[in-house]
Assembly symmetry: C2
Homo-oligomer: 143 residues x 2
Amino acid sequence: MGKTEGIGLFRDYLNQKGLRNTPERETIVREVFVTHDHFDVDTLYLRLRNKKKNISKASIYRTIPLLIDSGLIKEVFFEDGHMHYEHEYGNDHHCHFRCLGCKKIIEFKQDFIEDIQETFSKDYGFEVTGHKLELFGYCRDCL
Amino acid sequence: MGKTEGIGLFRDYLNQKGLRNTPERETIVREVFVTHDHFDVDTLYLRLRNKKKNISKASIYRTIPLLIDSGLIKEVFFEDGHMHYEHEYGNDHHCHFRCLGCKKIIEFKQDFIEDIQETFSKDYGFEVTGHKLELFGYCRDCL
DNA sequence: TTATTATTGCAATTGAAACTCAATAACAAT
DNA sequence: ATTGTTATTGAGTTTCAATTGCAATAATAA
């Protein structure tokens, strides 16, 4: 699940936008869907290098906006001076808790957000396409 | 409301932490509480310069973590490659909607978040001290 | 197969944030 | 008040994520 369809969806997206389907882009998408972990540009680049896929960082930086626009990945948080991502397609929806003590990230699910989105849409007449919810605090280990 | 107490609270925070109360820090806090708008380091720096308060960017960068730690300001969103802040104290709690079309930010209030925080705290035994909720989509003008 | 045009990799550039360090200023102890 | 100690300041420098220019290359259409 996720992995192969993700690539298909990205191909569709590229075609629809009149962009080209290149081996580099294909390799990047494939790697993004290998794990469910959060990733940043640097670790993605290194993961590819370790597999002898030498793709330049510039290409990764150029592909990420396309992946976001196509809905395959999303930004999740800005930490250590740079952005972190995760793939959206094939990943159950969840939010993030960030421990201010040990810096660990815990994923959790909840359903209230849908209500919030709907309430907001109705109140303002806007179209809500997504959200980002982050909780902060201290985990049990750090308390 | 907000403005003068904010400075008092920051003084308390500095004392409690054994840090010094300097005119630069005082000027920065004062300026932060002048408006309710979002701000970033650069605009804060320019606002101070326009008032002939020549405080270095370095000092602003060094003061911001203190203001966050003291609960006076918080990060609100990362945009245009850098962080944006707003003052928390003296500001009614609200979340942000970001229009993907015209890029405007709309503040809105809701109460569900408290429930989410409590549910999460109970489920995990963690202490939740704050949150960041952002909705994305298209405003009426852009639809 | 050829022509057109997007994409690639490299290198240079930008910009935010952090750091260096000498000079300065706050506070405590005299 | 004066001195010693130590945090803070500002200017400049450094770091590093992210972007961009450019020549070479490769993907699609004709």
